[in-house]
C-alpha cells in the first residue's frame, strides 16, 4: 500500500442553512487521475474548495493530509505553494492582457523587487505553450483566442506554478469535442511524463470513463463509492446508477414522433460578423422544420449554430443579414425580437445566467418577463394573474423552489433552466429554438428537460435544438443538420445518424475548407 499523495479525512462543512459535506473522505495516489462525479449541488465543488483553501482551515471539520503533513490552508495561495492548483469552471482570464501576462498573473517573472522581467516572461510563456501544444503568439490578447485555447492558457498557468496536483472543475463544459479530447490527452500525458496528478469534476461521463483511474461518486454531500479501474469495470450506466441512487434505464425518454405540416423554412440565410463585417458567420443556410418535430443542429463550437439562431430571432446577432424566413409557408420579416416573439418564435439562450435570466429577481417575474402583455391591462400589471401563472408553471415543470418569490440565483442549474423554459413556454410560441438546453446540469435534471421537450413536440410545437453533446442530439432528434464553418454540410435522419458519421462529416468538411 503506497502512501497517498493527498488524503482528505472525514471532512464536514456546513453553511448557515445546509450541510454541504457530511463526513466525506477522499484520497488520491501519486500519478493518478481521479474523477469526482455527482449531481449538481452534491458537494463536489465544495469539497475542492476545501482542498484548495478557498474555505480556510477551521471553517470545516476534518483533516487534509498532503505528502504526510496536515495542511492548514488559510487561502488559495497557501495551497498553491504546496503545488495544488484549481482551475474553475468560469475561466479567470483578463481579456485585454496578453497570453503571457495572464499566464504569470500573480506569479510574475521579476527582476529585482516588483519590476517585471518582460524578456523572461515571454520566453517562459512560449516554453510552456510549446509544452502543451498551444500554437499562438504569447503576445496575443486573450480576448482574441477561443475558449478552448483560453483553457490551455489556464493549464499553462498552473504548470508555471510547479503544479503537483491539478484540480479541474468542469474543464470541458465550454469546449467542443476535439478541444476537449486534446485537454484530456494532455492530462494523461502530464500523469505519465511529469508525474502530475489531477482531480477532474465533470458531468460528461464518457470523458470520465476515458481519462480516470478512479471515480468517486458524491451524492447529497456524502461519498457513495469509489470505483477503481483495476477492480471495477467503468461504464456510464454503472456511474449514473451511483449518482442518482437509482437505476436509469433510459437516458432519453421515448417519443413516437407525430410530424405534421411544415412550420419553419429558412432559405439562403447569410449573416456577417457584427464587428468584422466582411466575415461571413452563417453562409447560405437553408433548412426547414415541421410541427411536432425535433430538429437537431450539430457542429463544433464556432460552427455558427448560435449565430444562426440569434440572427433568426429578430436579428439579435449579426449584420448584413439576408435570406428568407417562412413561417407556415408565409414569408415574414423579423427585424426585432418583439416581432419574432409575435411571429411565434422563442429562443432559449445557451447561457442562462448571462443572457437568459434576471438572477436577482424572483421566479415569478422571470417567468412572465417575455409575455408581460398577457398579464397587463392598459400598461398596469395584474399581480394576481402573474402569481397564478407562476404557480402553474412551477407545478407543471416541477420547478423546485421554496416559493415563487425566490430569487432565481438561489436555484440549482437544472431548476434555473426550467424557469427559463417556463418563460418561453408561457410566451406560447409555435417554434422553439433551444440553444444547448441542458448545458451544465445534472443527469436527473437533463432527463426532466428532455421530457418537457418531448411534451412540447407532442403538442405540435416545432423544436430546433442546438447541442454540443452528440449523444443528446441522437437521443432526442428526429432529424439532424450538421453545421461547419457557417454552412450546413449535411442532413441525417434519426435512423442513419451516428456520432461517427457526424464527426466524420465535420472533419471532412473542415479538411476541404483548409485545402481550398
Amino acid at each position: 500500500m503506497t502512501i497517498p499523495l493527498i488524503e482528505m479525512k472525514n471532512i464536514t462543512k456546513t453553511f448557515p442553512s445546509v450541510t454541504a459535506l457530511d463526513d466525506v473522505s477522499f484520497s488520491l495516489q501519486e500519478k493518478e487521475i481521479h474523477a469526482l462525479v455527482g449531481e449538481n449541488g452534491a458537494g463536489k465543488s465544495t469539497l475542492m474548495n476545501v482542498l484548495s483553501g478557498v474555505y480556510p482551515y477551521g471553517s470545516y471539520i476534518g483533516d487534509i493530509v498532503f505528502n504526510g503533513n496536515i495542511c492548514k490552508f488559510n487561502q488559495l495561495k497557501d495551497s498553491e505553494r504546496m503545488g495544488i492548483v484549481i482551475i474553475h469552471q468560469e475561466l479567470a482570464m483578463v481579456p485585454y492582457l496578453t497570453i503571457a501576462e495572464n499566464m504569470f498573473l500573480g506569479n510574475e517573472r521579476i527582476k529585482g523587487k516588483g519590476v517585471i522581467d518582460w524578456q523572461k516572461t515571454y520566453q517562459d510563456a512560449e516554453q510552456y505553450m510549446e509544452m502543451i501544444g498551444l500554437h499562438e503568439s504569447a503576445h496575443t490578447l486573450v480576448k482574441d483566442i477561443g475558449v478552448g485555447k483560453q483553457q490551455m492558457v489556464e493549464i499553462a498557468k498552473a504548470l508555471a506554478k510547479n503544479v503537483k496536483l491539478l484540480i479541474l472543475d468542469e474543464p470541458t463544459s465550454a469546449l467542443n469535442e476535439s478541444d476537449a479530447r486534446h485537454l484530456l490527452d494532455l492530462l494523461l500525458d502530464f500523469k505519465k511524463n511529469r508525474g502530475i496528478s489531477s482531480i477532474i469534476i465533470s458531468h460528461k461521463l464518457d470523458e470520465v470513463v476515458y481519462v480516470a483511474d478512479k471515480i468517486t461518486i458524491i451524492r447529497d454531500g456524502m461519498t457513495i463509492e469509489t470505483l477503481d479501474r483495476s477492480v471495477n469495470e467503468f461504464t456510464e450506466p454503472r456511474i449514473v446508477t451511483g449518482m442518482v441512487g437509482r437505476k436509469m434505464e433510459e437516458r432519453y425518454p421515448h417519443r413516437t414522433p407525430a410530424i405534421q405540416d411544415i412550420a419553419l423554412e429558412v432559405e439562403n440565410w447569410d449573416v456577417y460578423h457584427p464587428l468584422y463585417n466582411d466575415r461571413k458567420v452563417v453562409d447560405d443556410v437553408s433548412f426547414h422544420a415541421h410541427k411536432g418535430e425535433v430538429v437537431g443542429i450539430a457542429g463544433l463550437i464556432g460552427a455558427g449554430r448560435t449565430e444562426l439562431c440569434q440572427s433568426l430571432f429578430g436579428k439579435v446577432y449579426g449584420t448584413k443579414i439576408s435570406g428568407v424566413i417562412k413561417i407556415k409557408g408565409e414569408p415574414v420579416r423579423l427585424d426585432t425580437v418583439s416581432q419574432a416573439i409575435s411571429a411565434g418564435i422563442a429562443y432559449v439562450t445557451e447561457d442562462r445566467k448571462s443572457d437568459g435570466l434576471v438572477l436577482k429577481d424572483s421566479v415569478q417575474r422571470n417567468i412572465t418577463l417575455a409575455s408581460l402583455e398577457k398579464i397587463q391591462e392598459r400598461g398596469v400589471l395584474n399581480f394576481d394573474k402573474e402569481c397564478q401563472v407562476a404557480d402553474e408553471y412551477v407545478e407543471t415543470l416541477s420547478i423546485k423552489t421554496p416559493s415563487i418569490d425566490q430569487f432565481v440565483e438561489n436555484l440549482s442549474g437544472g431548476n434555473q433552466q426550467k424557469v427559463l423554459l417556463a418563460k418561453w413556454i408561457y410566451a406560447q410560441p409555435d417554434i422553439l429554438l433551444l440553444d444547448e438546453p441542458t448545458r451544465g446540469i445534472d443527469v436527473g435534471s437533463k432527463y426532466e428537460i428532455y421530457c418537457i421537450i418531448d411534451k412540447l413536440a407532442a403538442e405540435g410545437k416545432c423544436i430546433c435544438m442546438v447541442s454540443s453533446e452528440l449523444p443528446e442530439l441522437l437521443g432526442m432528434c428526429d432529424r439532424v443538420y450538421v453545421m461547419c464553418e457557417g454552412r450546413i454540410i449535411g442532413e441525417l435522419q434519426r435512423s442513419e445518424a451516428t456520432q461517427e458519421i457526424i464527426m466524420d462529416m465535420i472533419l471532412q468538411a473542415s479538411k476541404r475548407e483548409t485545402n481550398s
Binding site: Q75, V337, T349, V358, L369, Q376, G379, D384
Partner: protein, 400 residues
C-alpha cells in the same frame, strides 16, 4: 426562526429607516429640540422638495444599470435661468414660462438620451459633457451670471406657497394627513386580503397593524406639526404626487418591470423582446423633465435665478439613491427607499445648519455618513460579519 434571526431580518429590511430615526434623535438632542419643531419641519419640507424630486429621477437612471446623471444640477440652474428670463425680461405669462421650462427639460433629456441610448456614449461622459454645456448655458442666459431677482409672485406662490388660510390651516392640514393615512391603511389591508385569498405568504396580522399604526401616527403627527404654520406647503403636494406616480410606474406597470429587467440583466431583457434602448432613452428624458420640475420648486423657493443655482445637487441626489438601498449595478432600488435616503441627506443638512456647523464640517460629515450608511447596508445584507473580518485580518495581519 429564532428571535435573533427575526430581529436580524427586521434590521436588514429597515436599516435605512433606523438610521434616519437615529439621525433625527441625535439632532433632536444636539439642537436641544429645535429640529422637530413645527417651524423647522416646515422648512425641512421646503428645503428638500427639489432634492427629493431629483433623487426620484436619479433612481430611474440608476435602475437602468448603474447609470447616473451628473448634469441635473446644472440643468436645474439652466431651466431656472431660462424661466426667470422669460418672466422678467420678456414679461411672459407665468404658466407659459413654466411650460417652456419643462419643454427645455424634455429637450435636454432627448439630447442626452440620444447619445447615451442610441449612440452608446457612456452615461458618465455624456452627462459630464451636459454639465459643462448647461453651465455655459446658465452664464449665457444670465448675461455673464447676473442674478435675476425677485421673481413674479404668481410664480413663487406655485411652489413656495401653501394651501389653507391662517385660520383654517390647522384643520385642513390635519384632514390631509388623516386622509393620506387612511389611504395607506386601506391599500395595506387590501393587499393583505388579496394575498391571503390567493394563498400566498403574508406577514402576521399583528405586524401589519403595527406598521399601519406607526405610519399613520407619524403622518398625522407630521401634518399636525406642519399645520401649526401656514398650511400645507404646495411643494409637499408636488413631492407627494411625484412619489405616488413613480411608485406606481415602477412597481405596477409594464414599463416599470422593463426598467428593472434592463438593470438586472440587459441581455436577457433584450432577448425577451424588451426595447432596451428605448427604456434607457426614456429614463434620461424623464430625469431631465424632473430636473425641470425641480427647477420650478427651487427657483420659487429662492425667489431668484442665480448662476450657482443647483450646483452640487446632482451629488446629493446620487447619494440619496444609494442611501436608499439601490444597487450600483442596477435593477435594485425603490422610490420609498430613495425618499428616505433624500430625507437622511436633508435632515443632515438642516440639523447641522441649526447647530451652526460651518460648511466645511457639513460637507465632511455628509460624506462620512454616506459612506458609513451604505457600508452598514452592505454589511447587513451579508450573512455574517465573518467574510469582512477575514478580509481585514488578511490585509492587516496577513493571517486569519
Amino acid at each position: 426562526m429564532s428571535i435573533r434571526e427575526k430581529i436580524g431580518g427586521i434590521l436588514k429590511q429597515y436599516i435605512m429607516v433606523i438610521i434616519l430615526v437615529a439621525i433625527l434623535l441625535i439632532f433632536q438632542i444636539t439642537t436641544s429640540g429645535a429640529l422637530l419643531t413645527s417651524v423647522n419641519l416646515f422648512n425641512l419640507v421646503n428645503q428638500n422638495a427639489y432634492g427629493m424630486i431629483l433623487a426620484v429621477g436619479m433612481l430611474i437612471c440608476v435602475l437602468t444599470g448603474g447609470n447616473v446623471d451628473l448634469s441635473v444640477g446644472s440643468l436645474l440652474g439652466f431651466v431656472s435661468a431660462c424661466m426667470a428670463t422669460f418672466m422678467t425680461e420678456y414679461g411672459m405669462n407665468t404658466y407659459l414660462a413654466i411650460f417652456l421650462g419643462l419643454l427645455i427639460g424634455i429637450l435636454a433629456g432627448v439630447w442626452q438620451g440620444f447619445w447615451i441610448a442610441y449612440v452608446r456614449v457612456p452615461s458618465f461622459i455624456t452627462t459630464l459633457a451636459g454639465m459643462l454645456i448647461f453651465q455655459g448655458g446658465i452664464l449665457l442666459v444670465l448675461k455673464g451670471g447676473k442674478t435675476i431677482a425677485p421673481l413674479p409672485e404668481s410664480f413663487n406662490v406655485l411652489a413656495s406657497g401653501y394651501i389653507g388660510t391662517a385660520e383654517a390651516s390647522g384643520s385642513i392640514c390635519l384632514a390631509v394627513g388623516v386622509m393620506i393615512a387612511l389611504v395607506f391603511v386601506f391599500f395595506q389591508i387590501k393587499n393583505y386580503i388579496t394575498r391571503k385569498r390567493n394563498g400566498y405568504s403574508v406577514n402576521r396580522i399583528g405586524s401589519l397593524l403595527l406598521s399601519c399604526i406607526i405610519v399613520s401616527a407619524v403622518l398625522i403627527w407630521a401634518f399636525a406639526k406642519i399645520a401649526e404654520q401656514r398650511g400645507v406647503p404646495t411643494v409637499l403636494i408636488l413631492v407627494g404626487l411625484v412619489a405616488l406616480i413613480y411608485y406606481f410606474v415602477t412597481q405596477k406597470t409594464v414599463i416599470g418591470r422593463h426598467l428593472y429587467a434592463l438593470g438586472g440583466n440587459a441581455k436577457a431583457a433584450k432577448l425577451s423582446g424588451i426595447k432596451t434602448d428605448r427604456i434607457l432613452f426614456l429614463a434620461y428624458v424623464n430625469m431631465s423633465l424632473l430636473a425641470a420640475v425641480a427647477a420650478v420648486a427651487y427657483s420659487a423657493r429662492m425667489n431668484a435665478a442665480a448662476a450657482t443655482a443647483g450646483t452640487g445637487t446632482e451629488l446629493d441626489a446620487i447619494g440619496a439613491v444609494f442611501l436608499g438601498g439601490a444597487s450600483a449595478s442596477g435593477g435594485i432600488g425603490t422610490v420609498g427607499g430613495t425618499l428616505i435616503g433624500a430625507l437622511i441627506m436633508g435632515v443632515l443638512n438642516n440639523g447641522m445648519s441649526i447647530m451652526g456647523l460651518g460648511t466645511d464640517m457639513q460637507q465632511a460629515v455628509k460624506g462620512l455618513v454616506l459612506l458609513a450608511a451604505v457600508a452598514v447596508d452592505v454589511i447587513s445584507k451579508q450573512r455574517t460579519l465573518d467574510p469582512i473580518m477575514n478580509r481585514i485580518r488578511l490585509v492587516f495581519f496577513n493571517r486569519l
